[in-house]
């Protein structure tokens, strides 16, 4: 693969990551997933930068990526604190809860119907039993045997 096609391929992969992240950012409603999607966009940018740096034999692309990494870490710290606080006051990770401030006399966006949850998608996580009580081994085994 010559340099220019290497560059082109990397830029293409970067664009795919950016576009996917962008679509996810728009339509996912879970705030943490939104943030992950934003990070994915940054991954796309990083790939492009590194590819250009390689192409020009220049350090700038990699350095820029390091800084993107750093800033992403800063933003992640703030995002975690913020999301935690938002979750504590609304009980949800849904971004659509936060639409109180809007133009006056506009009706809020309300979900008309909620999706049914298919049984097949239902997942179970291990449950910790309260301390001091002996767990019912057989029941747990039965419940998780399929997956363990």
């Amino acid at each position: 693969m010559n340099e220019i096609s290497l560059l082109q391929n990397y830029l293409f992969v970067g664009a795919v990551l950016f576009a996917l992240g962008m679509a996810g950012f728009i339509c996912r409603r879970n705030m943490i997933v939104m943030f992950l999607c934003a990070e994915m966009m940054l991954q796309g940018v990083s790939l492009s930068l590194v590819a250009w740096g390689r192409f020009y034999n220049d350090w700038g692309g990699q350095i820029m990526t390091i800084f993107i990494l750093t800033v992403a870490a800063c933003e992640a710290a703030l995002a975690l604190a913020l999301v935690m606080m938002l979750f504590r006051s609304s009980g949800k990770l849904d971004i659509l809860v936060w639409q109180y401030d809007r133009e006056e006399n506009q009706a809020p966006i309300v979900d008309r119907e909620l999706p049914e949850e298919p049984v097949s998608d239902r997942t179970h996580w291990p449950e910790l039993v309260p301390a001091g009580i002996e767990p019912d081994q057989t029941k747990l085994e039965v419940r998780y045997r399929r997956r363990i």
Partner: protein, 534 residues
Amino acid sequence: MSVESLDYLLPEVLLILIATAIYVAGAFVAARALWGWIAAAALVVAGALVWRGGELVGTPGPLAVDALTQYVRGLAIVVGLLLLLLSARSAAAGQVSEQVGSLLLAITGLMLAAGANDLVLLFVSLELISIPTYVLLYLGGRGQKSQEAAAKYFFLSVLSSAVLLYGFSFLYGLGGSTSLTVIRQAIATGGSTALVSGLGPVAAVLIFAGLAYKIAAVPFHFYAPDVYQGTSHANAALLSVLPKAAGLIVLVRLLGLSMPGQHVTAWRVAMVLAALTMTLGNVLALWQTNVRRLLAYSSIAHSGYMLMGVAAGLAVLPAAQNAESDGYFGMLFYLTVYMLATAGTFAVFEYLGRRDEPLERVDELAGVARSQPVVGIALAAFMFSLAGIPPLAGFAGKLWLFYGALSVAGAPGDRSVKTWFALLAVLGVLNAAVAAAYYLRLIGVSWFGASTERPRADGGRAPWAAALVCAVLVIAIGVYPFPLMRRASLAVQGARAAASEPAPAAPTAPALSAASSSSTAIEPKSKSPSGPAG
């Protein structure tokens, strides 16, 4: 980096050190006023240092040492002092140090962003404005409103900075270096190559879209009304001033000065956004009853006017014009005037509110100007200035913006371009007429409204002083704008001149990298088709 550049950066270094010290010491000493005074002293000293720097002209390293940088640094310090006065009261108890420190850092971010001549430095400087702003937004208010404001600003800001970075990556790809000087030279000499003509517009649009969020230009403006409404007056003032200034200056630096020959895309985008932004901001402001929401739309509309200046600056080649008909000059002058009037307005509102119950609705202003004549006159001055009514500063600002647009329309050139700019100027004047309605409504309510009996106006002396300073400046600049004009035109001329002189063949070789490269065996140049190395 060298000792000289450190010397040049002394104001920023000082501010960062003081901010850090305030952060750390704030954990131990909970003195409300102390941190404010220290921060103010730091800003004053930094201002003196900037002043002492004068009109330095240095070689372009990571920093563009030119008159534009100096101008914006001075502006940032003045605005910083005003914002500090404005937020003196709104700080939550026990978190003054966090607030003051974040504010100082955001101001430093603007100072650095104005002078950054390197994509990496530019990126971190812009983040240095954004990240403290998130913190301030959350700390500024109480309960769900400020939470919502912070969340909205944060998430959309993350999206926009990703877009901006994507634009940066293409700009980097055009120039092969993070230095804007090198990028400019590469684009100037390689204007006809497929790379520049194919990817240049993409880079320009992505960067524009990323920065338009900071400027609050339509359709990237949506956060502004909601966030302003949900946060405190001080934070709204900060949002309407710092990111906007940074966005506009960076826009000029990146698209205007670093991408020669790529202006067609940029000015078209700027023109479309300017027309949309000013119109939408004004027509929606007519409906508002919440003061901060109203000012949010007003600030959106003013972004539109300033984008008109940017468009005019982008559309004309630098050689064909004098400094004052340059759209950037109009934009810079208007930016200054707008910042003063808007910060002053928020100061008035902050002052007029009750303790723990800030001013919210326009009706609450009823009759306050009669019981508080000084503040009333100041508010009237800001409103008249924002509406562009002479002889206040906003009039001169609008005048130079329209002059810039009409200079494009009057200069020799493509006929359709001229027509578009003439139409844009007409739209601008029409918008100014529409805008008068809601500014006048605020004056009318505050002077002629039936007054409410409830006690008001215990915002303290600090916002009062900020309002007074802004009012004096707005009137003085209106009556005698020449000194400010001269500075602004020198700034624009300086930036244009710095951007048109030939770049050094290679970026200034830093000492450390020279040392490290000496230890590297120079391998034969071969573009190996292999994948991973090492």
